[in-house]
């Protein structure tokens, strides 16, 4: 199994490097034939971002933009893109990883300066759009903050750890979802579900209360809005282990949307695939739970209500009647509650009573 995996990873990397080389060759040939190099890529402007009900995520439409070195305003970003491609190629070739921050600073070593972090981030997004690969595939990762815990044995593929395995229940704080983990192979698990949790406090509580054994689950901490890597990891868990994903967030529009982005992706990543888990379920806290469990709650403020009205119209919220129903209840009761609100019924209530109901 390990060998097969290795080949797969190598294949992936060959593909990535191939697409980067293709890009470089295109530029080279254009220059060599005395033409200003230019690149066509899908436009990421809002009017070109459409919701695809079939894929259940945002995708980019048919509009394309041309980035040409002929254009005085494009020549600098074009050069930065060429550099980013070269840098990614080197990362992939040497199987090293880097963060977005790292990219920003590394550029200076090549005498390629970016005005700020945002500018370099944009160039990386351009590279994703041009090649159709997520930056994680080029070994560029964001700073990590999300974690996973549960009975899942993985096998590393990163250099120096190839073939080594780890059970994700080995460390009670959970294991950081970083590049080594997302590129690893899932070898064995006893879990029959995945529980994604918005908040670190509850994640720890679930581990303490042995939710992973009581409910045979893998626990994933998203730490607020799930990072792309975590979303990619959840998608892999869902696809490869073929077990359901349940998402628990605060009972407010923001928590609701954290679940939605895991399920249907974000507009910002419309140029990428496999970052969403369409079959995942939002399991709470629902607006109706606030009523049903008489949870201690706070009034919705203006921003919350404005956000709810936006979400009401969002195409992603038209899929499942659950969403519209819960939005209506939120607007009706004008209250919100946090996951921790269950503590009013005692520390273990959420695990012993609430969770089983929700996981049915």
């Amino acid at each position: 199994m390990g060998k097969k995996n290795k080949t797969k990873v190598a294949e992936k990397e060959t593909e990535i490097m191939g697409s980067l080389k293709k890009l470089g060759t295109q530029m080279y040939n254009q220059l060599d034939s005395g033409v200003f190099p230019s690149i066509n890529m899908p436009s990421r402007s809002t009017e070109n971002i459409n919701y695809d009900p079939h894929l259940r995520q945002y995708i980019l439409g048919g509009k394309t933009v041309t980035r040409s070195a002929r254009n005085i305003r494009h020549v600098k970003p074009f050069t930065q893109l060429a550099w980013a491609a070269l840098f990614s190629n080197e990362l992939t070739f040497h199987r090293k990883t880097s963060t977005l921050r790292d990219v920003y600073y590394s550029a200076q070593a090549y005498n390629m300066t970016f005005k700020n972090q945002q500018e370099s981030n944009n160039i990386i997004t351009d590279l994703e759009t041009v090649t159709g690969h997520a930056r994680e595939e080029f070994h560029i990762f964001p700073e990590e903050r999300s974690a996973v815990f549960g009975d899942l044995t993985i096998e590393y593929t990163v250099p120096g750890y190839e073939g080594k395995t780890l059970n994700l229940s080995a460390h009670p704080d959970g294991v950081l979802i970083g590049p080594a983990l997302t590129t690893s192979k899932f070898t064995n698990t006893s879990a029959d579900k995945i529980i994604a949790i918005e908040k670190g406090g509850l994640f720890t509580r679930f581990i303490e209360e042995n939710v992973h054994t009581k409910h045979k689950s893998i626990l994933v901490l998203t730490s607020g809005q799930a990072p792309r890597q975590t979303r990619y990891f959840l998608r892999r868990l869902s696809d490869e282990l073929k077990i359901p994903v349940y998402i628990f967030t605060d009972g407010d529009p923001w928590g609701m949307h954290i679940a939605m982005v895991i399920i249907s992706g974000s507009a910002n990543a419309a140029h990428l695939r496999n970052l969403n888990t369409p079959d995942a379920k939002w399991s709470g806290v629902w607006a109706s739970d606030i009523v049903k469990y008489k949870l201690p709650s706070d009034p919705l403020d203006e921003v919350d209500i404005k956000r709810l009205r936006e979400l009401q119209k969002d195409p992603r919220y038209q899929e499942d009647p659950l969403w519209q129903k819960e939005i209506k209840i939120f607007l009706k009761i004008k209250r919100k509650a946090e996951l921790e609100a269950y503590a009013r019924y005692g520390l273990t209530y959420i695990v012993d009573k609430y969770l089983p109901t929700k996981l049915k």
Binding site: Y28, F78, A82
Partner: protein, 587 residues
């Protein structure tokens, strides 16, 4: 009453007591003023013959004991010293009989005519000599020749109380080399060290506004400053002109009446005023109520009923020629032609009082009463139909010379000049000439460098009070893509028969609406050129920047794509960069 005594003082005595009003305020100002007055006289003397001026100025130290002897106060300030000032020119020279008065009698001079000249009061040269005399008690030496057979040399002092020259020595020598010009030399006490910056600035700016002059200055340390002419071209010398009616006052009227040979008002007006012809004079006389116009049929005509076809006074009703009527009987003020009889060349009121009638336009100006002169003067100012003065009495530099002068002294990158059409204030014609220079050797400062000139002399003091300063600072320069931190110099030159100085010291131009308007319009016009230049420059800069961006990034793209594509040789991008350049030229 018994204690106070009244005494008349002479003009020279007056200026001796009030020397600061002529610019001789303090030791540093005095030395500057002396040089300036003499240089300006020399320039005028050369220009009157349309000869490119060659002026040599030398300031050399006199012996130290002189200070102790003549000005013991001088010890307190070691900077104050007695110098010998010598100014030589190649001007017209002065006829020997005028030399003593020209340099030894205050307010005596050649400058009481109406034409553009540098000096206006006939005061400067004498003040210099006077100041030198009172501080050092040494005679001045004047050597001059008009280019004829002889050279005259005078040693002069001024009898201050009587305002008379005292001739200490007079020599005549043979002018073998046909030399023409004037040399003035005298001792003067002053503070050169402090005056030096202004003196040098004065020479530089004088050279700027007189680009056809050679100026040489040797300072007390023996340093030579030479300002070489850039051209032999000279502006047309000004013509003398009559006073314009708008510019006269009672005093001038009385003087004109005193000297006139004309026997009646009509001829008086036509012969003593600038641009007053037959029709204008008649119109004015009717306007002023001094005469009536009468038609044979319709008798007296109101001004509206008078036609002026073909230069003839006529009746607008019957279209026939009308006449000016002398109407003024002392008793019955309005007489019809039939009521007037003449006898012995005199007109009489025939029917009513039999007395001499006042002769209206035929009146002899010498017989105007003081009240009538005042009325005449007031009407001269009120009458709207006098034609504006022409500018033949002015001698502006002209655009080419202005440009040459600025190029010569400032060496700018870009220059634009403008000469306005003649205009007038209070009956005095004036012309504004203006220039804006950018870049080159003009230094960057936090404000525009303003050069002010009046009748080709630089104005160095009181800049902030000058009308040009106000106008320049009132303009919204951003509209012309100009900001004060740019290396920009602005030249404003006003030529006039009477420069509207605010003070006797000739330091700045007063804020008269007519002058302000002309300066503002002149500035606006050339500012448009400056804006055009700035946009072009901006464009060139942008283009340069554009090319540099391509030149910076294209090689990098080549570098990155070469290693990314796994190639060994970089693509040749020279052509691409060159194409950007070509494109840039086309634009």
């Amino acid at each position: 009453m018994a204690q106070s005594s009244f005494q008349e003082i002479s003009a020279s005595d007056f200026f001796y007591r009030n020397r600061d009003i002529a610019g001789f305020t303090n030791p540093s100002r005095a030395i500057f003023a002396a040089i300036r007055e003499l240089v300006e006289n020399s320039l005028d003397a050369a220009e009157s013959l349309k000869i490119p001026p060659d002026i040599y100025v030398r300031l050399s130290p006199e012996g130290k004991e002189d200070i102790n002897e003549f000005s013991p106060e001088g010890k307190e300030d070691i900077n104050e010293q007695v110098f010998r000032l010598r100014v030589e020119d190649n001007g017209s020279g002065i006829q020997p009989r005028f030399i003593p008065s020209a340099f030894g009698q205050v307010l005596y001079g050649s400058k009481y005519k109406l034409k553009q000249m540098r000096g206006t009061f006939g005061l400067g040269g004498k003040m210099a000599v006077l100041y030198g005399q009172i501080m050092t008690h040494k005679p001045a030496t004047i050597i001059s020749s008009t280019g004829q057979a002889k050279i005259y040399s005078f040693k002069l002092m001024i009898d201050i109380q009587r305002n008379r020259p005292i001739i200490m020595d007079r020599k005549v020598s043979i002018n073998k080399e046909k030399w023409r010009g004037t040399i003035v030399e005298f001792a003067i006490e002053g503070d050169y060290l402090r005056a030096r910056p202004k003196i040098l600035e004065y020479f530089k700016q004088t050279a700027m506004v007189n680009p056809y002059a050679n100026l040489t200055f040797v300072d007390p340390k023996g340093r030579l400053y030479r300002f070489t002419r850039a051209t032999m071209e000279m502006p047309e010398p000004p013509k003398e002109t009559l006073p314009h009616p708008y510019g006269v006052d009672v005093e001038l009227l009385q003087r004109l009446i005193y000297v006139t040979k004309q026997k009646n008002l009509l001829e008086f007006l036509k012969n003593h005023f600038h641009r007053v012809g037959d029709i204008t004079a008649k119109k004015f006389l009717i306007f002023s109520g001094l005469v009536n116009s009468v038609c044979k049929k319709h008798n007296k005509l109101s001004p509206q009923e008078i036609g002026w076809d073909n230069g003839q006074l006529n009746c607008s009703k019957c279209k026939k020629e009308a006449k000016l009527s002398p109407i003024l009987c002392k008793k019955y003020t309005k007489l019809s032609p039939e009521e007037i009889k003449s006898k012995d060349g005199q007109l009489y009121c025939a029917t009513k009082c039999k007395k001499e009638a006042d002769l209206g336009y035929l009146k002899n100006p010498k017989k105007l009463s003081h009240e009538e002169i005042v009325i005449l003067m007031q009407n001269l100012k009120k009458f709207k139909e006098f034609r504006p003065p022409d500018a033949s009495c002015l001698s502006p530099l002209g655009q080419d010379l202005l440009k040459a002068g600025i190029m010569k002294e400032l060496k700018p990158e870009y220059i634009v000049v403008n000469q306005r059409k003649p205009s007038t204030y209070a009956g005095h014609p004036f012309i504004i000439e203006i220039g804006i220079a950018y870049g080159g050797e003009i230094p960057k400062r936090n404000s525009f460098k303003i050069y002010r000139f009046a009748n080709k002399i630089p104005l160095l003091y009181d800049e902030a009070s000058d009308v040009s300063y106000k106008v320049i600072n009132a303009i919204n320069w951003r509209r012309y893509k100009v900001s004060p931190d740019m290396p920009i110099a602005i030249m404003v030159h006003i030529c006039s028969t009477k420069v509207p100085y605010k003070t006797v010291g000739k330091e700045f131009i007063s804020d008269r609406p007519e002058v302000r308007r002309e300066v503002a319009n002149a500035l606006r016009e050339i500012s448009r050129n400056i804006r055009h230049f700035m946009s072009k420059r901006e464009h060139v800069n942008l283009e340069r920047k554009r090319i540099s961006i391509f030149a910076k990034y294209l090689p990098r793209i080549a570098e990155f794509s070469t290693s990314l594509a796994g190639k060994k040789e970089r693509p040749d991008i020279k052509k691409l960069i060159a194409s950007v350049r070509k494109y840039g030229k086309k634009e």
